[in-house]
């Protein structure tokens, strides 16, 4: 139990420590941490679902770019802002569907499938945009990434709604229960008559939709549809899930854990920025945290079983 609480404790200790760093508690800084973390966080929510089924999605960075690009292109072509956002989300969902379909129908390991689609989606995004960013975006679109509601960044509201939804799906729906079962023992799930392929494809599509939304937020923050956005984000999303107690063997993971994981990484990077620690070091520190988190988790499991 103590070790299960370790991520929370780490987050709290980290936060309290950072309170002694000048400027950390300023409104500008805190909201910037939230805005920076939200994109990774929303992607990580989808990744949590995929990792629970025992899969992985390496293509989320490319999906993010494609969603953001197609959504902003729609706006550029005169679509209203809401329609543009919806198109971005749908684009993400379609990419996720492709990942899920290939994984389940061709029975290829999701690592390989998404390693392939990582390249395919990125390449298509560059082809569609001809490598050029989209700039002609309605000014109102910036509200998604930079707006404030009731004194709190709008993205935090979006994140909270997504987190609650994903939590409800995982804990209170058939899809969620099946995800845990598939991740824990795919053969037993198949033998129980569960339509494994359908449910796994759904999970990848939902994760894709969330990534598409994250892509729209990223585009809104930059006010650009950037075909090169999101490179390397997949590893940050996976890291958030893993730090939060998700297991790459499947069957384990939680929304709360993932949120904590993403915020630990967000605070670490913000804290080192404020203390003037080089970003080169930041990468090394986050890498070490991932290994530490997983080894603590392994120790906990070994003791129980």
């Amino acid at each position: 139990m103590i070790q299960r609480l370790l991520p929370f404790a780490t987050l709290i200790v980290l936060f309290v420590t950072l309170c002694f760093v000048p400027n950390f508690l300023s409104e500008t800084n805190l909201s910037s941490v939230i805005r920076q973390t939200a994109v990774i966080n929303i992607m990580a929510l989808g990744m949590t679902m995929i990792i629970i089924t025992g899969g992985i999605d390496l293509s989320v960075g490319s999906i993010l770019a494609m969603g953001g690009l197609i959504g902003t292109m729609a706006m550029e072509k005169g679509q209203p802002i809401l329609a543009g956002v919806a198109i971005g989300i749908l684009t993400g969902a379609s990419c996720g569907f492709v990942n899920g379909y290939l994984t389940t129908r061709l029975k290829i390991n999701s690592f390989i499938v998404t390693l392939g689609t990582l390249g395919i989606f990125r390449g298509l995004t560059l082809v569609i945009s001809n490598g050029l960013p989209v700039h002609q975006i309605p000014a109102g679109f910036s509200f998604l990434g930079e707006g404030t509601v009731l004194g709190v960044p709008f993205v935090l509201w979006v994140l909270m709604v997504c987190a609650v939804l994903v939590h409800l799906v995982l804990e209170h729906t058939k899809l969620g229960r099946y995800s845990f079962a598939i991740g824990s023992n795919p053969d037993a799930a198949f033998y129980a008559g569960i339509p494994v392929a359908f449910h796994m494809t759904s999970v990848y599509a939902i994760a894709g939709a969330l990534t598409g939304l994250a892509g729209m937020i990223e585009a809104s923050r930059l006010m650009t549809g950037q075909p090169t956005a999101g490179q390397g984000y997949e590893l940050q999303a996976i890291a958030a899930v893993v730090i939060g107690g998700g297991s790459l063997r499947g069957g384990e993971g939680s929304v709360v854990g993932t949120l904590v994981g993403a915020f630990i990484m967000g605070l670490l990077s913000n804290g080192s920025d404020l203390r003037g620690i080089s970003p080169y070091w930041q990468q090394a520190i986050i890498g070490a945290i991932i290994i530490l988190a997983v080894s603590v988790d392994e120790l906990r499991k070994r003791r129980v079983v």
Binding site: T173, K174, L175, A181, S184, G193, R303, V304, V305
Partner: protein, 497 residues
């Protein structure tokens, strides 16, 4: 004295697996270790084999106190264990697995592979096992893997061998071969500890017996002084009375009809009918196609020709989903691999197949779920701390009850039981039979695959026998083991003589 264990204790979290484990093994004896599932037999043996550390007590090997930190340390002291669940490397060959970790090394640390494979082939041939040294493990059935484990233990030249119920997945002839091996080891002066549930096998192999109950040694003594009834009494602590016997029901309407089912050489022109209220036994030697038949009916493997009808209606099975929708349930032979998600809770496993009925528009109805979980834990007397306990912590018998309860909760009407009592203690076996009986009384039809002929005779209304992918005959329930074996092992003409 080869091995002495004195009040060995082991706890897992809040659960005490061993309170007072005592055991003495002499060189040159076969010592049987018995007890219900969850009595602590496997835990005690894992401590001896260095796979787990004890929390208290003493272990003496040849009168020297020992404590093994790893299986390797135990192996260096001459202890080898044949495991119930296969611990082999599935992508390596039989020969490589036999000598895994003990490879002959040539210059520069290269493995002398051909010499090693030749030695493995020699060993297999010497014992007459149906194996080849260059087969990979993932092609083998559970029984085949068990034989490899046995070869591995013999090849290590250990002076103390532990067999963890090796014969539960083996055919009669393979079982005999295992007993021959055990006798040879004994003659050579090795000590053998043999964990088993099967009372019938005891007399021929054992010298002494130790019975564990609830984590403590309750009896040690010579086997010949002990009657079967006494032994059972030690194990369960109460009188079991007569062996299980079932009151047959008048058979109802046909539930499952299989016509001319054919799948390559594995299944050839299989036809039979299961009627409501019936338990039909399916006997056969290993590889006769019994499990393959269940898998084909359940939609796991596609078949070439033939058809399946459920309650008169033709059924097309492309996957287990179709079979489940038609009311067919499979209780698979390999509980850990395909029956249960062992890392998930008891409750989740119980309701895994019936989530559709426990949800509206995909949203789970938790109160209804909790009620179902509670109902079946009580109904099948599943021994657990509660629905949220991890299934992996339960004994084999209780795990099997979860698998059965999963399908009862789902509302299945046709049950395919594949080796339902494998690795289950005597008490739990009777309970499984009682559940099967009560299912038939509610109108279900049951096909029961079993290698335990006595169980088939006790439970089944009639018995189908398979041999080399064909149904070689049908016998009434009250038949003899000899008649079943005659159909299972010999051509018809031979059987008649």
């Amino acid at each position: 004295m080869l091995l002495e264990l004195k009040s060995v204790q082991k706890r897992f979290g809040g659960v005490t697996a061993l309170r007072d484990g005592n055991l003495t093994v002499r060189a040159g004896e076969v010592h049987l270790l018995m007890g219900e599932n969850g009595a602590g037999k496997s835990t005690l043996m894992k401590i001896v084999a260095g796979m787990q550390r004890s929390d208290g007590g003493h272990m003496l090997l040849r009168s020297h106190p020992v404590s093994f930190a790893s299986p390797k340390e135990a192996a260096l002291s001459g202890i080898a264990m044949v495991h119930q669940e296969s611990l082999l490397a599935p992508h390596l060959t039989v020969g490589e697995n036999i000598y895994l970790g003990r490879e002959d090394l040539g210059p520069f640390g290269f493995v002398k592979r051909s010499a090693m494979m030749a030695r493995a082939a020699e060993l297999i041939e010497f014992h007459g096992f149906p194996l080849k040294a260059d087969w990979t493990i993932d092609r083998l059935s559970p029984a085949g893997r068990q034989l490899v484990e046995i070869c591995r233990a013999i090849a290590s030249g250990a002076s103390l061998l532990i067999f963890d119920e090796p014969t539960s997945s083996l055919s009669e002839s393979e079982t005999k071969e295992v007993f021959t091996i055990v006798s040879k080891l004994k003659e050579k002066g090795a000590g053998v500890i043999y964990i088993t549930h099967r009372l019938e096998e005891l007399r021929s192999v054992g010298d002494r017996v130790t019975v564990l109950r609830d984590g403590a040694t309750v009896h040690t003594g010579d086997l010949k002084d002990l009657s079967r009834a006494q032994l059972i009494q030690h194990m369960v602590g109460r009188d079991l009375g007569a062996l299980y016997s079932r009151q047959p029901l008048p058979a109802g309407k046909p539930m499952l009809e299989v016509n001319h089912l054919t799948r390559g050489k594995l299944l050839q022109d299989i036809s039979f009918t299961l009627k409501a209220g019936e338990i039909v036994g399916l006997a056969g030697l290993m590889g006769a196609g019994r499990t393959e038949l269940c898998r084909a009916i359940f939609g796991i493997d596609a078949f070439d020709s033939g058809d399946i009808r459920v309650e008169g209606k033709p059924l097309r099975v492309a996957s287990p989903c179709d079979a489940v929708a038609a009311g067919i349930a499979l209780i698979p032979e390999d509980r850990q691999k395909t029956g249960l998600a062992t890392q998930l809770s008891v409750g989740w496993n119980l309701t895994l197949a019936s989530l559709g009925a426990h949800s509206r528009a995909g949203i789970l109805q938790s109160a209804k779920l909790a009620a179902t979980e509670k109902k079946y834990i009580e109904l099948l007397r599943i021994k657990t701390d509660g629905p949220s306990q991890k299934s992996v912590r339960l004994s084999g018998g209780n795990q099997q009850k979860i698998v059965i309860a999963k399908w009862v909760a789902q509302g299945a009407r046709i049950f395919l039981f594949d080796e339902p009592t494998r690795g289950i203690d005597v008490g739990a076996k009777t309970e499984v039979f009682e559940v099967m009986d009560s299912l038939t009384r509610q109108g279900a039809a049951i096909l029961m695959v079993s290698s335990e002929l006595t169980e088939l005779i006790q439970v089944a209304d009639r018995i189908l026998v398979m041999r080399q992918g064909k149904i070689s005959g049908e016998l009434p329930g009250r038949t003899t083991q000899e008649e079943i074996m005659a159909l299972a092992a010999f051509e018809e003409k031979e059987a008649l003589q």
